[in-house]
Amino acid sequence: MNNHKGVFILGEILNGKLAPITIELLGIGRKLANELGEELSLLLIGSNLSDLSKEAIAFGANKVYVNEDPLFDNYNPDVFAQITTKLCQKILPSIILIGHTDIGADLAPRLNARLGGGLSMDCIDLSIDPQNKFLIMTRPIFGGNAYAKVISKTARPQMATIRPKVVPPAQRDSSREGQVIPLDEKIDSSLIKIKMIEKIKEEVEGVKLEEAEVVVSGGHGIGSAQNFEMLKELANILGGAVGATRRACDEGWVPVTLQIGQTGKVVSPKIYIAVALSGAMSHIVGCLGSKYIVAINKDPEANIFNVAHFGIVADYKEVLPALTAKLKELLSK
């Protein structure tokens, strides 16, 4: 444990740039590294990494390890796990930060299994214990009904995955200096068992759910795929996007890419209109970042009213048409 030093970030590349989550990890990573008086390093896997390495240094990394190969532009679990494990076994970081993304949530447990560290996933807060210098990781449990603070006393590295948009991004400072270290380890291809066959995009047209200023979300009470059309209409009037709970997606009423919640998307629009959804915590954790929550539900005891700012207790089918029509009128002025 004593020979583990430094904060290490697994970087992600999105559309040829550092992914927003990576810039957020550089922010919290720099903060933790400063508190520990240790170095911050980052690993980039992919191609055309020289500009990205400079960016990572400007955002606070002391060292950027680069594994350059166009073959690595697409995530392969076995390849990334092999590269990352080898590097971490060499540099022995005390803390590893990974984004809780499609890549991160898959890679982090693999890495942890190989390194034998202490991993906590889906963290919403990280801090250093001032006395013993342990990393304190805060994460939701029981579908978000509660939170737990966890530490790894002796197992190293301490590892955490962090949700996007939870910690502030790093500030760019082009005067920062750092080192770029190319990795030239050969991949042992006999250990690569998984093959990526195809990627299928299933984006819904219109405003992207995670970027929408207004989200109109439906739950199990909506009752059918057809009824979701009413929510689409309302969302269109407001220039927003439609979301749904896991139970509505389970029924097949909307594509699963619309799922909001603990396992699904996390959104933080200005206005979140929750229609015919009870407000189970595993859904609510996906929208608590909203500025205003509006609830329409015929059950006055529904939990959604405990987190909403405005509410109507009524059958949504009797509310939505009038709501939509009046908004159309008011917003056209």
């Binding site: 679990p77 076995d78 993304t101 499609d102 949530a105 447990p109 693999r110 942890n112 299994a113 034998g116 202490g118 991993l119 906590s120 029981f142 009904n145 509660a146 939170y147 737990a148 603070k149 966890v150 530490i151 790894s152 006393k153 068992k193 998984i194 093959k195 990526m196 066959i197 195809e198 990627k199 299928i200 995009k201 299933e202 984006e203 997606c249 389970d250 890419t257 799922q259 603990q262 396992t263 200005k270 206005i271 407000g279 189970a280 915590m281 608590l288 509006v294 939990n303 405990n306 987190v307 909403a308 700012h309 405005f310 109507i312 009797e318 509310v319 709501l323 009046k326 908004l327 008011l330």
Partner: protein, 264 residues
């Protein structure tokens, strides 16, 4: 196809959040009285995935569950869904294990079961939700791993797994045997019913203790204990909800429209 499914029994997550209570001293959740525990939702989906494969290709499903209390209930639920046999893995040394410890115990049980083509797990437990047991288990068993499956297609020597990602899906191919963690997007599970349910409820489910699966207490202590919980808390959320009314629901809708228009 020989499939092993790992399932966990958890406190019912569907209870109203207001009834959710924790004990800050023991750092444990206090289940509300009279509410029976249930099978963890993602594990139930893993069972559903196994049943769909068995429906198509035939074979055997063995279900295992490590836990304290009346764990046999989730085994019986799984058998009623379509599993052929199941085992409870229970021992006082298995209480309070972390993800590493849990994965190790499950791996020893799987070793006792013998040959398999697929091991299926839920992507995370509906209670503590650490999301690691499946991945560590794959590592211990030395087999490939695919996570967040929403569909599994069995081929001759491989499986094609449809994996849920943020903006759609990925299709990955993995050689058999492999471990797959299953996500809720696989769809609704079948409801145990009829004769299957009746027969399952009458079954005697064997319990495997530490010695039955060759677990050394000292070895377990070395493997587990990576993560320690220092605090459990319920965040205080206080919102004042302004109830919008009207003579009719439609009128309330009109009143709400004015509120929303002001917020934009």
């Amino acid at each position: 196809m020989n499939i092993i499914v790992c399932v966990k029994q958890v406190p019912d997550p569907e209870i109203p959040p207001s009834k959710f209570k924790i004990d800050p001293v023991t750092k444990k959740v206090i289940p509300p009285p009279g509410v029976p525990p249930v099978i963890s939702v993602f594990d139930e989906r893993a069972m559903e995935a196994a049943c769909r494969i068995k429906d198509k290709h035939g074979g055997k499903i063995t279900v295992i569950s490590m836990g304290t209390g009346k764990v046999a209930d989730v085994i019986k639920h799984s058998i009623a869904m379509g599993a052929d046999e199941g085992f409870v893995i229970q021992d006082e040394t298995f209480e309070n294990l972390d993800s590493f410890g849990t994965a190790y115990v499950l791996s020893k049980a799987i070793q006792k079961i013998g040959a398999y083509d697929l091991v299926l797990c839920g992507r995370q437990a509906a209670d503590w939700g650490a999301g690691q047991v499946g991945s560590i288990l794959a590592e211990i068993l030395g087999i490939p791993l695919v996570t967040f499956a929403c569909d599994i297609i069995v081929e001759d020597k491989n499986v094609k797994v449809k994996r849920i990602v943020r903006d759609g899906y990925e299709i990955l191919e993995s050689p058999i045997p492999t471990l797959i963690t299953v996500s809720s997007e696989i769809g609704l599970p079948r409801l145990p019913a009829g004769v299957r349910l009746m027969l399952a409820s009458r079954k005697q489910i064997p319990i495997w203790k530490a010695k039955d699966i060759g677990i050394d207490r000292s070895e377990l202590e070395k493997i587990s204990g990576h993560i320690e919980i220092t605090e459990v808390f319920i965040p205080t959320r206080k919102t004042e909800c302004e109830m919008i009314t009207g003579n009719t629901p439609a009128e309330a809708g009109v009143n709400l429209a004015s509120k929303i228009a002001n917020l934009i």
